[in-house]
């Protein structure tokens, strides 16, 4: 089964992500060593916490460049929750702080009239996903496929381009449906390029 490398963001609920991949039979590594991440095939950028803190931490370790390069080479990357947001240009949560800029979108806060944070299960496609967020991307940016969900208007639930998959929800906490999402990310990444299949 596949080797999964989870970027250790320090605090985020990495234990849940770790356990979810182990249940799929993957061999899982947790690291913040840029060298190891740059050599990894399947990389997960999890995220709980604040946008500015997340970017500072990635920049301090040089992981920002490693992640952008990984995506440029279309090697498999999964961004979860704040992980999706960090891939964007910037966020209303931390004005003035640049994101990784892979996704050409700004992250904004849910309208003040709606329950915030969004804590709980919301419909995505034919299933239900668990969300835990106060910020989100409002529409699917050019060049990406994606799915929308609704909470005080539509927002982006997931985005996909090549072997990069980023989701605002937590697949690791979304029961059997979420396990299916993780499995498809792995399977699609393998199918997308048999020449450099990573097993």
């Amino acid at each position: 089964m596949s080797d999964i490398t989870i970027i250790d963001t320090g605090i985020a609920n990495t234990a849940s992500v770790f356990a979810a991949f182990e249940r799929l039979g993957c061999s899982v590594t947790l690291t913040r060593d840029p060298q190891r991440v740059s050599e990894a095939s399947f990389v997960v950028l999890p995220g709980v916490g604040q946008f500015g803190e997340g970017m500072r931490s990635l920049r301090a370790s040089g992981l920002d460049r490693v992640i952008v390069e990984h995506i440029k080479q279309d090697r498999p990357l999964l961004g979860i929750c704040l992980g999706l947001q960090l891939l964007c240009v910037g966020s209303a949560e931390s004005p003035g702080i640049e994101g990784l800029g892979v996704i050409d979108a700004m992250v904004t806060r849910f309208p003040a009239t709606i329950r915030t944070p969004q804590h709980g299960w919301n419909r995505v496609g034919n299933g239900y996903a668990y969300f835990s967020n106060s910020y989100r991307v409002g529409s699917i940016p050019d060049g990406w496929d994606g799915e929308l969900s609704e909470h005080g208007g539509v927002f982006v639930a997931s985005l996909r381009r090549g072997r990069t998959y980023a989701c605002q929800f937590h697949p690791e906490l979304s029961g059997a449906w979420g396990a299916g999402v993780l499995r498809s990310w792995i399977d699609n990444a393998k199918e997308a390029s048999p020449c450099c299949a990573v097993e």
Partner: protein, 252 residues
């Protein structure tokens, strides 16, 4: 649209599930890993585990329990009970909790909430409140230490402060209703809903789906129950079918 959540609660003492009424007369009610697995299979949307251990050894065991449950559980888990420092909260998150509930420590030192939220993100911080009704018309006061300590803090005012302190969710237990199985304190829920846009988990008093419907209509986003699930009287799925039949959006 965001679904209403049904949340079983496990009280954990020294690695075992226990149950009691108003925090007293605890008796053994099984293995946490087995019960967590069963609840997920039976449609639980989330799990709350409260560590009721009174000893330091018990606290250490709770970390092991969280690790063991995390290995099998693929729905969110909130852990609370005796969390006194940011370090303790972070240890629980690292062990596999997705959210941490803080109760008495926040009353004694509210800045723990702000500090915790800035370190782990607001969405991981749950303020747990035990509210006891005062004489008619005088509202509710926050109680602590299993209801033995009257803090004199107004429960509604406390919730109103919580949002600005960086809390991401409120776990609101009615001390009067807890263990009675006569329904949640819907008046309390209505009053609290007025002062916050934070998600509220209603707790204390559930006996059946109608009680849960009443709580959700009063402003709760999630309903927590312990005893009705422990003894196999009903399941989260069975409850959710009734919620759906009354027009409440739930995860199928």
């Amino acid at each position: 649209m965001l679904c209403s959540r049904v949340i079983p609660c496990l009280d954990i003492d020294n690695g075992r599930v226990v149950k009691g009424v108003k925090f007293a007369n605890m008796r053994d009610a099984g293995d946490p890993v087995e019960q967590a697995t069963r609840y997920e299979r039976e449609g639980a949307d989330e799990l709350v585990m409260l560590d009721v251990s009174a000893t330091i050894g018990g606290r250490e065991t709770a970390l092991d329990t969280v690790r063991a449950v995390r290995r099998v559980l693929s729905i969110p888990m909130c852990v609370g009970g005796g969390v006194r420092t940011p370090e303790h909260a972070i240890a629980l998150l690292r062990a596999g909790a997705d959210k941490v509930g803080v109760n008495s420590a926040a009353l004694e030192n509210p800045s723990i909430l702000t500090e915790l939220a800035s370190r782990v993100g607001a969405q991981c911080v749950v303020l747990s409140i035990d509210a006891a009704r005062l004489a008619e018309g005088n509202g509710w006061q926050v109680v602590s230490r299993a209801g033995t300590h009257q803090t004199g803090v107004d429960a509604i005012a406390w919730v109103a402060r919580a949002e600005s302190m960086g809390v991401g969710e409120i776990l609101l237990t009615s001390f009067d209703q807890d263990g009675t199985r006569t329904g949640y304190d819907t008046q309390l829920l209505r009053e609290v809903r007025r002062v916050t846009t934070l998600p509220i988990i209603a707790s204390g008093g559930a006996d059946n789906a109608q009680h849960m419907i009443d709580a959700l209509r009063a402003g709760a986003d999630a309903v927590l129950a312990a005893s009705i699930f422990h003894d196999n009287e009903t399941t989260p799925d069975a409850i959710k079918e009734e919620l759906a039949a009354s027009g409440i959006e739930v995860r199928a």
